[in-house]
């Protein structure tokens, strides 16, 4: 992995936008699923699959691959979309999300889709699995990096702290956690439902190296991972501040879109249900009206 140049940033920007469009299209087709989290994490996922990860979409079981564990499985539309664009499976297959017989289960299932490292949905157990992988790989003196993506509301679960304590105690230098700090959960804003702050101090108290970044800034994402890799005597955490619903103005910052697809609800400020999907795609294709879409 190298630091980013302007050309690479341009590519990632374009790619993340494609991923966001796919997320909207697949959710509209599925008629259920989560919108805000996947859109908010599109930049992080794009940076991982198109720059950070050592992986081979055509050889998903490659032993030397880095492991990316998605703990908050409900944002899987962003993982599926990014994987499809990275070449793991045909983009057309995204339309099968949540349908009978699909490999793209409503929450990710490892044995259904090559390239998924685990099965998740019930929150709080991904970090334990990532820690187990990092520990096992270290036993065999392997060099693979293990990344675990978590949500912020997930920090309310006890098992996260069991895993944090264990990984800190075992000085798992190859383990890097990333928290999607988008401040929302189903019932509202995290700090209203059950405050997770001070998050940085909590993780530091568990003997982790902690950084906070803008989760929409490709350079910050890459630089933080590089710094985390340089800290080899303890595990690292990156708190990525993101905007839920990023890229679709009527969804941004609104917890109502946590678990709802376009066309399903009409919270304040949203267009009529029938126009929501079209509006979302229009905005993404024109980068919020900044450019004239080639599709218009």
């Amino acid at each position: 992995m190298a630091y980013l140049n302007d050309e690479k940033i341009k590519q990632l920007t374009h790619q993340a936008n494609e991923v966001r469009q796919s997320i909207i299209e697949m959710l509209v087709e599925a008629k259920s699923g989560h919108s805000a989290g996947p859109l908010g994490m599109a930049d992080v996922f794009t940076t991982f699959y198109f720059h950070i990860l050592k992986h081979d979409p055509h050889n998903p079981d490659w032993e030397e691959r880095d492991r990316l564990i998605l703990s908050n499985g409900h944002i899987c539309p962003v993982q599926y979309a990014t994987m499809a664009h990275a070449g793991y499976f045909p983009i057309e297959e995204l339309k099968t999300l949540r349908k009978l017989g699909t490999r793209l289960q409503g929450h990710p299932h490892r044995t259904s889709l090559p390239g998924l490292e685990t099965t998740s949905g019930p929150l709080g157990s991904g970090l334990s699995q990532a820690a187990g992988m990092a520990y096992g790989l270290r036993m065999d003196e392997k060099k693979n990096w293990v990344y675990c993506l978590m949500s912020d509301a997930e920090q309310q679960i006890g098992q996260i702290w069991e895993a944090a304590m264990w990984a800190g105690n075992n000085k798992l230098g190859k383990l890097i956690g990333i928290i999607d700090r988008n401040n929302i959960q189903i019932n509202g804003f995290t700090e209203n439902v059950m405050p997770v702050e001070p998050l940085k101090a909590k993780w530091e108290a568990f003997n982790w190296h902690v950084q906070e970044i803008d989760g929409h800034n490709f350079e910050e994402i890459v630089n933080a991972v590089e710094e985390a890799k340089a800290i080899f005597n303890r595990p690292s955490l990156i708190i990525a501040h993101t905007i839920p619903g990023k890229g679709v103005d009527y969804m941004e910052y609104r917890y109502e879109w946590h678990g709802s697809p376009p066309g399903s609800i009409e919270p304040k400020g949203a267009p009529p249900k029938a126009e929501q999907a079209k509006k979302a795609l229009e905005q993404l294709r024109t980068l919020g009206g900044k450019i004239t879409s080639e599709h218009q």
Partner: protein, 331 residues
């Protein structure tokens, strides 16, 4: 007469409680782990602060680098093991049955079974014979919550030797396995040469009037009951059923056909355990009167193990009464 082909212990001492050799079933776990570890360098053992009493310590002493201390965190332990299995390890997780799988059921279901990872869940201190610790530490629901999960195999060994064989066998299976061990000294019924195959039940003593289908420490009680029943002119077949899932359907159907009545015997809640598994087979294939020797929809309590076995109706004379009742229900 004991089935000679199965190389069980001598009848001369077996039926005398004062002479029969007794060992804690959990000892077999520690010994089985060492056998598994000798055979496969990828075997790792995780324990949640109970290595002495679960007997994981036996393994820890021989393979300290392949023993992983988790602290009191059973949910983390289950998912750590899933991660270790994902990179090629063969993890055994060990604690008391009440905590693992009692506390970490969802992690076992999602991250081990649905995720189809090669993890073994080894649960000590199962059943009311745990004794003085009381109901909080007496798991009597564990077989039910484990056998209800797809992909899971469930073993309930009858004595320390069988526990050793079951543990070693579990390490060779590619996929999730649950093994349940009792704490107390339990009469030894099998020998080093007694067979143990996954999915097989065994006729330890043949008979034609009633089939006593037992697992765990109740296998010995069933054998004792058969001895008493013989004096009353009743010929009881005693079946040891150490694999609760997948259960040996053929042997159970045959027993129901040939004996006409069944008593299931287990140190577990009457719901969802061995008795339920047997009833499911019979209902589908060959309905027969069945009585259930098990804990009857209540919690355990403090007491000496033998006092509790008596109070909860899990002794040989309870099985004798149940057998007569089952026979009386034949049409």
């Amino acid at each position: 007469m004991l089935n000679k082909e199965l190389k069980l212990v001598s009848e001369n001492t077996l039926y005398d409680r004062s002479k029969v050799e007794q060992l804690p079933i959990r000892n077999g776990f520690g010994e089985g782990l060492v056998i598994a570890g000798d055979a496969n360098p990828n075997v790792v053992v995780l324990c949640a602060d109970l290595s002495e009493s679960t007997r994981a310590q036996t393994y820890q002493k021989k393979y300290p680098d392949r023993y992983i201390e988790v602290g009191v965190a059973e949910q983390n332990m289950a998912s750590l093991a899933s991660g270790l299995a994902a990179v090629g390890k063969v993890p055994f997780i060990s604690s008391y049955a009440m905590f693992s799988p009692g506390r970490n059921w969802e992690q076992i279901r999602t991250t081990i079974c649905y995720n189809n990872q090669n993890v073994k869940i080894a649960a000590a201190h199962a059943g009311v014979s745990v004794g003085p610790d009381g109901a909080t530490h007496q798991a009597i629901e564990d077989i039910g919550i484990m056998r209800g999960i797809a992909n899971m195999i469930v073993f309930v060994p009858a004595d320390a030797h069988e526990a050793r064989r079951a543990t070693a066998a579990a390490a060779k299976i590619k996929g999730p396995v649950y093994i349940r061990y009792a704490r107390e000294k339990t009469p030894i019924v099998t020998t080093d040469d007694t067979p143990f195959e996954v999915g097989k039940a065994y006729i330890y003593r043949d008979g034609k009037d009633v089939a006593l289908i037992a697992a765990g420490p109740l296998v010995y009680e069933a054998l004792m009951a058969a001895q008493v029943l013989a004096k009353d002119g009743i010929s009881a077949r005693v079946i040891n059923c150490p694999t609760i899932k997948p259960i040996d359907e053929a042997l159970i159907i045959k027993a129901a056909k040939e004996c006409g009545a069944v008593v299931s015997c287990e140190e577990h809640q009457t719901m969802n355990g061995l008795g339920s598994a047997v009833a499911e087979v019979l209902a589908r294939n060959h309905p027969a009167p069945q009585e259930f020797i098990a804990v009857q929809n209540r919690f355990g309590e403090s007491g000496e193990p033998n006092e509790l076995m008596e109070k909860f109706g899990l002794r040989d004379h309870h099985i004798v009464d149940a057998a007569k009742k089952a026979i009386g229900r034949k049409k």
